[in-house]
């Protein structure tokens, strides 16, 4: 019997009461039936975002410059105003929404109805790689090295590879520790590289169809020369062969009748509308907007089950570029998220045509940690250990706020695990239990994360 099962049995029995609230919470949030059609989008804001401009703002009329020594919180909108004239400053809310967000998230107001905000997440690190990998895997890295597999890889390992590119990663990281190789991400640096992967050329010379056909047949057959029992002890032989076959299948495959490469080749004129909505130039497929459009296409055409991407970069602003660059860059990321959510709301799911993609897709927006609430002596912000994230779409509560940060120094506050509201005797939210909740919401196993998810994030 596995340790987890043993503990569950114990908690279900007469000793359950004695073991306390923590263990019974594990029992309460055991994974339900697997949802094989659930899709996921993991949106990364690279460089550590300023949550005062986004997910966890403070009113500058209350948190004034005069009170900085008292509160340790300095919105410093006046600097944004002078360095970035025209940037719309103001807290953003919506009728019936229990929270407001910062000015960089103005475009998200139209989608609060499908979103929830989780504040007061303790990252336990201020090292970029560690925070990023913690939020990608849900497990605290070993040193700088990721521990465990990416959440997208876990999703595909359990759902099976029922799509052409089940785990698509663009300009982000992916890990597979001990899961089947079919769950490995197809990880590209840009949409340009994705298109190159899915079609021949321009740097791949045309090969005669007879050669292609014979090669494909050759690769599908097992070459009996080498000793599979020895070489294939770790499955490498099959991996190399099967991936070579799959690579050609992708080039020759299609999504709803369209060549796979054309779905993502946003230079084509049939994608004029996508380029306009996601705001990127025709010939710049390395643009963050192109990545978000890629995510939408991958979901719309049933190409992927999990998509991970970087939606905004260059947020690591320790100097006066915080005021000049950070607001626009973060705002750009949220604008792309808002466009994606809008598209998911109006597009039918290819697997479940009676539902729109927003009903079958979970979107997680995160950064490695946040920035200090008080400016440093260069008018920039350094690394802060507290964080926040946004959850949207399927399997997560809508229009809710969970967790909080303190009014002095913006520290993560404990919450009641059942309500997500402040409780002095409660628990601290971590990426581990947020991501366990996301997995559990689709009936996916959370054993490796050693957490069954947070009851307050159950729908």
């Amino acid at each position: 019997m596995k340790r987890r099962d043993f503990l569950k049995t114990l908690s279900a029995g007469s000793l359950g009461m004695m073991l306390g609230n923590g263990l019974s919470m594990r029992l309460a949030h055991a994974a339900g039936p697997l949802d094989p059609t659930r899709k996921f989008v993991f949106v990364y804001f690279s460089g550590a975002w300023d949550i005062l401009l986004g997910l966890d703002p403070r009113d500058p009329d209350n948190f004034t410059e005069e009170r900085v020594e008292e509160t340790g919180i300095q919105p410093a909108w006046h600097l944004v105003e002078s360095e970035n004239p025209g940037f719309p400053l103001g807290l953003v809310g919506a009728a019936g929404t229990p929270y407001v967000v910062g000015p960089a998230m103005a475009s998200m107001a139209a989608h609060f109805d499908v979103c929830s905000v989780v504040r007061g997440i303790a990252m336990d690190t201020v090292t970029h790689e560690v925070g990023r990998r913690y939020f990608i895997t849900g497990m605290m890295p070993r040193g700088l090295s990721a521990a465990g597999s990416s959440i997208g890889t876990r999703v595909v390992a359990q759902q099976g590879d029922r799509t052409a590119i089940p785990n698509l990663v663009c300009s982000s990281e992916s890990y597979n520790e001990g899961l089947p190789t079919f769950a490995n991400a197809l990880s590209v640096g840009s949409v340009t590289d994705l298109v190159s992967t899915l079609e021949d050329g321009p740097n791949a010379p045309a090969v005669d169809s007879a050669v292609r056909q014979a090669l494909s047949q050759f690769r599908r057959e097992q070459n009996a020369f080498c000793d599979p029992s020895q070489f294939n002890r770790f499955g490498m032989l099959e991996s190399v062969r099967s991936t070579a076959v799959k690579a050609r299948d992708l080039v020759e495959g299609s999504g709803q009748g369209l060549a796979m490469g054309d779905l993502f080749n946003f230079r084509l004129s049939e994608h004029d509308d996508l380029r306009a909505r996601y705001e990127f130039p025709r010939y710049d497929l390395d643009h963050e907007g192109a990545r978000m459009a890629m995510a939408f296409q991958a979901l719309k055409y049933g190409v992927s089950q999990s998509v991970s991407l970087t939606a905004a970069s260059g947020l690591d602003t320790h100097d006066d570029n915080w005021a000049s660059d950070h607001p626009d860059r973060q705002q750009g990321g949220w604008n792309r998220v808002a466009t994606l959510l809008g598209d998911l709301k109006t597009t039918p799911d290819p697997d479940v045509p009676s539902k729109n993609l927003i009903d079958t897709t979970t979107v997680v927006c995160f950064s490695e940690f946040s920035r200090t609430p008080k400016l440093n002596n260069r008018d920039g912000r350094d690394h802060a250990i507290v964080n926040a994230c946004l959850l949207a779409g399927a399997g997560v509560p809508h229009n809710k706020l969970f967790g909080s940060t303190s009014e002095i120094g913006m520290n993560a506050m404990p919450v009641d695990p059942n309500t997500g509201q402040f409780s002095m005797s409660g628990m601290t939210i971590t990426p581990n239990n947020v991501l366990a909740s996301v997995l559990a919401s689709a009936g996916l196993d959370t054993d490796k994360l050693r957490h069954d998810g947070l009851p307050f994030l159950r729908v």
Partner: protein, 212 residues
């Protein structure tokens, strides 16, 4: 003391008079015998080897980008995998192929992913094509990169050794049969040149080349 000294001297003289014959260095194995050598099975009838019988330290790994960046020009007379502007594709696709930049990515990715396989297919098509073009203009057989022997099976043995490090004995057809069939299939439908292109691409993307 004097007797002991004499004894030592006597022993030394004896040793000098009858030196042991020098140990002959073992003949080097003509091929790399790591992953491809056969396992001595306890039960010869058993078709698979128990993992305990497999020597440790032989876990196969996929070649990394840096291995390929250096080895392809060595194997193909300086031929590089390049884009239209003669930029190295290893550099252009560095991040996508999983190479560490030690700024944002600190570990090289060595997964045998479909993405890696696709680009290796592109690489093989270009490099093999260039090599065959050069061979077509090289009169001296010994200087050719791919087409070294007129006999197909002899040339396949040459390529198995060159690209896979596997020495195939002249009487061993099993080790080249699959490639021979590939060659014959393409030749029947296209041309001899296309047949060698297919064979070269198959060998460059085979696990025997891509792993070590």
């Amino acid at each position: 003391m004097r007797i002991a000294s004499l004894l030592i001297l006597a022993v030394g003289c004896t040793a000098m008079e009858a030196p042991t014959p020098p140990v002959q260095p073992a003949q080097p194995d003509p091929h790399f015998g790591d992953h491809w050598s056969q396992v001595e099975r306890e039960d010869p009838e058993q078709t698979w080897a128990h993992p305990d019988q497999v020597p440790m330290g032989q876990m196969p790994r996929r070649l990394e980008v840096e291995h390929l960046r250096r080895s392809i020009p060595l194997l193909f007379g300086g031929i590089q995998w390049e884009d239209r502007n003669e930029r190295s594709m290893w550099d252009v696709l560095s991040r996508t192929l999983g190479e560490a930049d030690y700024l944002e990515v600190t570990e090289s990715n060595a997964d045998p992913s479909p993405l890696f396989a696709k680009f290796m297919d592109d690489m093989a098509a270009q490099v093999c094509g260039k090599a065959l073009d050069r061979d077509a203009h090289t009169a001296e057989a010994n200087e050719r990169l791919i087409l070294r022997h007129p006999d197909v099976k002899s040339n396949l043995r040459f390529l198995r050794l060159k690209l896979h490090g596997i020495a195939v004995a002249p009487d061993n057809n099993e080790a080249v049969d699959a490639y021979y069939q590939l060659h014959q299939t393409i030749q029947a439908q296209a041309s001899s040149g296309q047949a060698w292109l297919g064979v070269c691409m198959a060998m460059l993307t085979a696990p025997e080349f891509m792993t070590y």
